[in-house]
Symmetry: C2
Subunit: 254 residues, 2 copies
């Protein structure tokens, strides 16, 4: 029975997509049947995997707003253990369009129910907001991972994020847990990086993943080739960081 | 008569807040009467200037949703040429609450009308989305500045952003122009940075500001002291980059 794992943080540019894409790839090479769902109108996860995708028919907008069967939106990749439900720019209207739909917070959960048995892990990449797309992800997920950039502003929004998680746990998804907190773009030469890690460790304690994702240019180059770092440069620190993170994730969610 | 200038890009973490805060400060020290309005529920701009703010009463949520007089939300800073309208976490609900308000796209424009004469430039910092808060900013603004991070994913969302700008120009704000496109977090050691700049230059031509904002740790340290870079470390490349950018902005918008 598939575990649904959402990557969430309303702060922008903290590494949600980079983490979702690279964890999905690491899972697939470890023979874990994986589906990644791109819930961001910017469609960055769809781009980051575009070289691998065989053929897309429908997308997540069709599923959430037009009521298309989610099976029609699943696209295969070159890897038998990795499928994707792509996003589209049309999704930018979904936040407003969802407002007036009955049971709007459950649209994704209801759709995923019909395919969750086919996968071991389903990964949800979310936009940088706490709107209805992210609420749908939190309502469907078994667990969430919070990527936090090693920057001061990234600490700011955590209390708001945790408030939203608590509200969802109380009203929409009683079983939702925080699988872990992930430090991203760590630069060992900067005091700021070390200070932010200490602060987060003090607050989240052992929820913090032991793996730190170091700043690594290969991670930001890979998307321009439509591939995760593991395929673009398997020897890069970025690819290795995400492989070791994935092992930690499997220990926590299986 | 004040010019309203919005910093907009739905891609997260591209330097909207860092640019809004540091440009506002550079304007104020050049004796340009400046107001900065924080439209982001994360309130990063409010944090980035928190050391300077004297006393806050109301905030932008009170103005947009509760109909409070905008004059009550204006907070003075230690600098006579810099005022701020702070944000609040309550704003996270505003995207949904605005949906059902009459003339929802004009809430900010109507409010700003009553104070625009007091300032030479009003700066709007926006959240990473194309929702109603950003639409309110685009409807009120005379011009917009698009910060673009020197990263591949940052190129992805530009067509969507330009589509939204065109829609706003056609239906909500006929006079809206793009004042300029700003490259941020430029790292001269990385080919990726150079490639992205070339790509943006090819597309936007002389809309691109000549000033590039280089990656500089002082810019990301300053917010933890509640100050813009100019006050935290006036000799930093970050502070100097924003001073020279501000000169370019004044030439374009005056
Ligand atoms: N560890 C890293 N080292 C270097 N660059 C990174 C790293 N992680 C992410 N990046 C780059 O930083 C930028 C932001 O990352 P990403 O787009 O994954 O964040 P996000 O949280 O998904 O952003 P958004 O909030 O817009 O969805 C991207 O250009 C990405 O390539
Ligand atoms: N030139 C720069 N050099 C180094 N760090 C920078 C620079 N510009 C911004 N930063 C840092 O990068 C992070 C993202 O910048 P910022 O928060 O200003 O972006 P944003 O577009 O406002 O993000 P959001 O989409 O969440 O509103 C912040 O932690 C900031 O301190
Ligand atoms: Mg993303
Ligand atoms: Mg910001």
């Amino acid at each position: 029975m598939g575990k649904i794992l959402a990557f969430i943080n309303q702060k922008g540019g903290v590494g949600k997509t980079t983490s979702a894409v690279n964890v999905a790839m690491s899972l697939a090479v470890s023979e874990v049947k994986t589906l990644i769902v791109d819930l961001d109108p910017q469609s960055n996860a769809t781009t980051g995997l575009s070289e691998l995708i065989e053929e897309t028919q429908k997308n997540i907008y069709d599923v959430l707003i037009r009521g298309t069967d989610i099976k029609e939106a699943v696209a295969k990749t070159q890897f038998s253990h990795l499928d994707i439900i792509p996003s589209t720019h049309d999704l930018v209207g979904a936040e407003i369009e969802l407002v007036s739909i009955m049971a709007r917070e459950y649209q994704l959960k209801t759709a995923l129910k019909t395919i969750v048995r086919r996968y071991d892990i389903i990964i949800l990449d979310c936009p940088p907001s706490l709107g209805l797309l992210t609420i749908n992800a939190l309502t469907s997920a078994h667990a969430l991972i919070i990527p936090i950039q090693c920057e001061y502003y990234a600490l700011e929004g955590l209390s708001q994020l945790l408030n939203t998680v608590r509200l969802v746990q109380r009203h929409l998804n009683r079983n939702l847990v925080i699988a872990g907190v992930l430090m991203t773009m760590y630069d060992s030469r900067l005091n700021l990086s070390k200070q932010v890690v200490e602060e987060v460790k003090g607050y989240f304690k052992d929820k913090l993943f032991k793996t730190l994702i170091y700043r690594n240019v290969r991670l930001s180059e890979a998307p321009s080739f439509g591939k995760p770092a593991l395929l673009y440069d398997a020897n890069s620190s970025g690819a290795k960081n995400y492989l070791s993170l994935t092992e930690e994730i499997l220990q926590r969610v299986s």
